[in-house]
């Protein structure tokens, strides 16, 4: 296999707050191949957005990347080494801040933010913002940059792009602004676009249009994507491969078909169960019980055991290993759950958790029914 476009290994980002250290991203690893659309899925607070800003080295105080490696092709974005005093310090191979600005941000890795209403500067015209970023990241004249901007606005489906070029962001609807942000990312011709919940703030019809657009443009330009979302439906629609995050960790990773049809981790199962389905009429939806614990003080053992319908006593003691459980062929399917380890899960006592105790094990029942 060719070298991946983006390699993230054991990335750790922490926030140093007055209440203590928040381990927002706690040792995640994944790769993005050329032309691939990789999903990063999880509930709010799982650390998805922190992970993406860490990759861009845009984490703001009091947050800090404290460990791990991020490589873009052969360029080292993040790396640590042991100093002479035994302290972990950023390695010399790392790109300087100036190199990050000039060589990576925008022209190699571009980003699309979650909230299109906030991400455009209200006091400048849409066109001038596009043009500025194109000029910074591509070797073109101002006139060419303007033409690229107009062409790209047309490409993402903005009607009358010549006129709209001089409009201000408040004169665009939310869906239109998100198209502008997509145009912005594509017009810098990056090899990788990080899309941080780009459709969450939009209504479902517009979301559908945007997803179709991205699909189409990705075919055309071959750009790789990291698609951050909490919506399994979106994942199913566009992703090639999926990473499921929970409380700062990736707990399952597989190709998208594999993940949906051969789900391993109880959290992923619960996420899938919680999705409303148009082909089923149900009395009530099946949310994941409880709320995600705070990353400042994560539960011992498996982090999901407090809400896991399958939790047993062993889950509280044992840190699951992130391991490959796939068959001999196909892309690796990794999961971190003690069910797939030989640490005595079968013999362990079932645990009273938020999922099993308080709600009488709804998820298990529902699962049983649908398996019949």
């Amino acid at each position: 296999m060719a070298e991946p476009l983006l390699t993230v290994e054991n990335l750790q980002t922490q926030f140093f707050t007055e209440e203590g250290v928040v381990r927002a991203v706690d040792g995640i690893s994944f790769t993005v191949e050329e032309g691939e659309l990789v999903g990063l899925v999880g509930e709010s607070g799982a650390g998805k957005s922190v992970a993406t800003s860490s990759i861009m080295r845009l984490v703001e105080e009091p947050g800090e990347v404290v460990g791990g490696t991020v490589k873009y092709r052969d360029q080292v974005i993040i790396d640590f080494e042991e100093g002479p005093d035994g302290e972990r310090r950023p390695s010399d191979e790392m790109l300087s801040n100036k190199q990050m600005r000039d060589e990576i941000r925008g022209n190699e890795i571009a980003i699309i933010f979650q909230d299109p209403m906030e991400a455009l500067n209200p006091v400048f015209t849409v066109g001038s913002q596009l043009k500025e970023f194109i000029e910074i990241n591509r070797d073109v004249s101002g006139k060419e940059a303007k033409q690229i901007a107009i062409d790209m606005l047309r490409e993402v489906g903005i009607p009358e792009p010549e006129e709209r070029y001089d409009s201000y962001p408040h004169q665009f609807s939310g869906g239109m602004r998100q198209r502008v942000l997509i145009a912005m990312a594509l017009s810098c011709e990056p090899s990788l676009i990080i899309a941080d919940e780009p459709t969450t703030a939009l209504d479902v019809t517009v979301e559908g249009q945007i997803l179709d657009l991205v699909d189409e443009l990705q075919d055309k330009y071959g750009t790789s994507f990291v698609w951050v979302t909490h919506d399994m439906g979106v994942v199913a629609e566009i992703c090639d491969r999926v990473n499921v995050m929970y409380l700062g960790e990736i707990i399952e990773q597989a190709e998208v078909d594999d993940l949906f049809h051969d789900t391993k981790h109880p959290y992923t199962q619960a996420l899938l169960k919680s999705m409303p389905r148009p082909d089923e009429t149900v009395e009530e939806l099946n949310p994941i019980k409880g709320v995600m614990p705070e990353a400042i003080n994560p539960p011992p053992g498996c982090r999901f055991h407090t809400r896991c319908p399958d939790a047993r006593e062993v889950c509280r003691r044992t840190r699951p290993v992130y391991q490959d459980v796939s068959g001999p062929e196909g892309y690796p399917h990794r999961v971190s759950c003690v069910k797939y380890e030989s640490v005595g899960y079968e013999d362990s006592e079932p645990l009273d958790t938020e999922a099993t105790a308080a709600f009488g094990g709804d998820i298990i029942e529902a699962q049983g029914e649908s398996n019949e």
């Binding site: 600005r101 909230d115 990241n137």
Partner: protein
Amino acid sequence: MSRLRYTIGRLLQAIPVLIGVVTITFLLTDAIPGDPVSIMLGPSPSAQQAAAIRAKFGLDQPLYVRYFNYLFDVIRLDLGESLYYSVPVTQKIMERLPITMLLMVSSFTFALVTAIPLGIISAKRRNKPADHISRVVALLGVSTPSFWIGLMLIIIFAFNLNVLPATSLVMPWADPSTVDGASNQIDVIITAIQHLILPTITLGTLQMAAFTRIERSSMLEVLGEEYVKLARAYGVSEGKILRKHAFRNAQLPLITIVGLQLTTALGGAVLTETVFNINGMGRLVITAIQNQDFLLVMGTTLMFGVVFVVGVIITDLSYAYVDPRVSFDGGD
């Protein structure tokens, strides 16, 4: 085009406001206790003399007649004749207004030129030494009375060091022959600046302190906005983010405050002019009140009202210029 339409609309709105200013000024002046006629004529005037004076100034007529007479006079820019100076009120105002305006413009310029960089540095170096210093400077500036600052400046720079003049102002456009030791216009301008420095600091310190804090907090807010993060994510340098992407948005709250601070500054001008013996609008108002010169009181109060209304209009217009959402139709 829509900016022009907004401008015209805003100017038209000023007309009812100004009529309101005239009305309130007229009624308040009428309500002041004391009889201007008795002050004019001295003790124990004859009844005939008093009646003649009343008739001359129209004071024998009912309130509403006097009000409408005054209103129509004002529309014709006729503010009557000062009882104390025996010259038209407009002439007196035109004589004094440029002096006060010079002082105001100079102190607001001083305040903005110092406050904007200080505020930005504070925001950029939040909770670092530079921020703490600027916070202390701002706190001292807000809490020190301006007349005290004026007196201290006079003692230090005029008496002890003897480097700057402590009294009156010289207009930079004055005729060189009327200014001591000036042989040409450049000398006059230099003298004018020397005279301006201490009053400017006296009047401008309070505004400077207030503006610094506003600039700091709005800059901090804007630096946390998504569009600033977006600019960073597209490789824009920190310097350019400050100068371009954050700066314009961060000035919006400051513009509002500058407009509102005009009232404080007009009040401060009265004190500053007294301390520095400057013959501006502030001292004119005081003279008018002390002598029950009711036409002059109305005229000067009205003028302060006009200055304030004009200031607010300029504020609104610059707002519209800086933020397209204000002037364009179909905004949210």
